[in-house]
Amino acid sequence: MGVVRKVIIALAVASMATGIGLAVLGNRTLRWAPPPRPPGSAALGARQPGAGPRPSAPPARPYRPQPMARSRPLALAIPAIGVRARIISLGLAADGSARLPPLATPFVTSWYAPGPAPGQRGTAIVFGHVDSAAVGPAVFYNLGRLRRGDLIEVTLADRRTALFRVYAAELYQKARLPAAIYSYTQWPTLRLITCGGTFDHRTRHYLGNTVVFAEYVGQG
């Protein structure tokens, strides 16, 4: 009986040790926190661009508020979350989705070229990855941290810059992503889009999209 007891104890110890190891191995969040989520703000109805009092944080230099002529965006800077990224121009894929930079270049963003350019009247869209196995957190990992008043600067091919100010950030379920996030505005606006919310391990996709809404301040 003593031998049997020893075997049971040895098996129990081995089982517990293996269990602890597997539990740690299976929980890969130990390396990175999940992407930050914006606080709920009902962005599309919360505030229309150009309406109401403007938030604080004045631009660092004078910007002329006239809408701009179309010019290809080349780079993006978001000081509040330490983002400086290249922008490439992409269109639609065959399945109707926007073409995106490859995950192998997770710090490159993409401008949706069939739509307005940043600074033009209408809504300019820029996509970026939230994470990538190559690096972990990617270019728009901290998009959900942006708050009203944060500034976004876009450098254009004609060497001008377009300055935008965040007025809302929202997390939407992909299945109910409102078409209005792409709706064109009379005043220039910018929308930054990435993935967010719960990650579905079965489909290997996030269930949501984080969208940041920014209004045009001016050109410099």
């Binding site: 129990a12 890969r28 969040t29 989705s97 995106l100 994470d131 709706s183 990650f199 391990h201």
Partner: protein, 168 residues
Amino acid sequence: MRLVQRAAPLGGLLVPVIALSAPASSSPVGITPDPAAPGTSTTFSVDCASLTAAGTATSATLIGTTLGLRAHISMQAGPQSNEFVTTVVLPAGIQPGRYRPDIDCGNGVSASGTLTVNPVPAVAPATGDGATATTANGPLTAIGLGLLGGGLVAAGAVLGRRLRRARD
């Protein structure tokens, strides 16, 4: 501005109906925003007084057929006399392209404006592979927690038995 005359029956007689077809800069029709995206709101306005001889209009109707909307959409009176406005939601399935919906004013003026519909992504973007996403409920964790629980139960049983024997 180019004036186009066409005949239309009125009270049994054929009388000329004056239609305005003009470049965007001088068009009596305003479209905001233009271009527009499928599935989003677009506002049409018309100045029915663009031809003074036509007289005052008391109503105006947007002909929505070409946009995939209902045929007759009544417009609301605007802030100025002879101005009318309506906001419609473009069908989500409208094809990208250029559209020229007509607007008929109650005073006989008919005008049209050009709306460009640009394509927008129809599928939500997949911008990430979950590298930073929580996997606390992944299969390895579940198996590990199961083994840990089993080990604890077995160890508890052996210890309990030993304690009972010690008491005896």
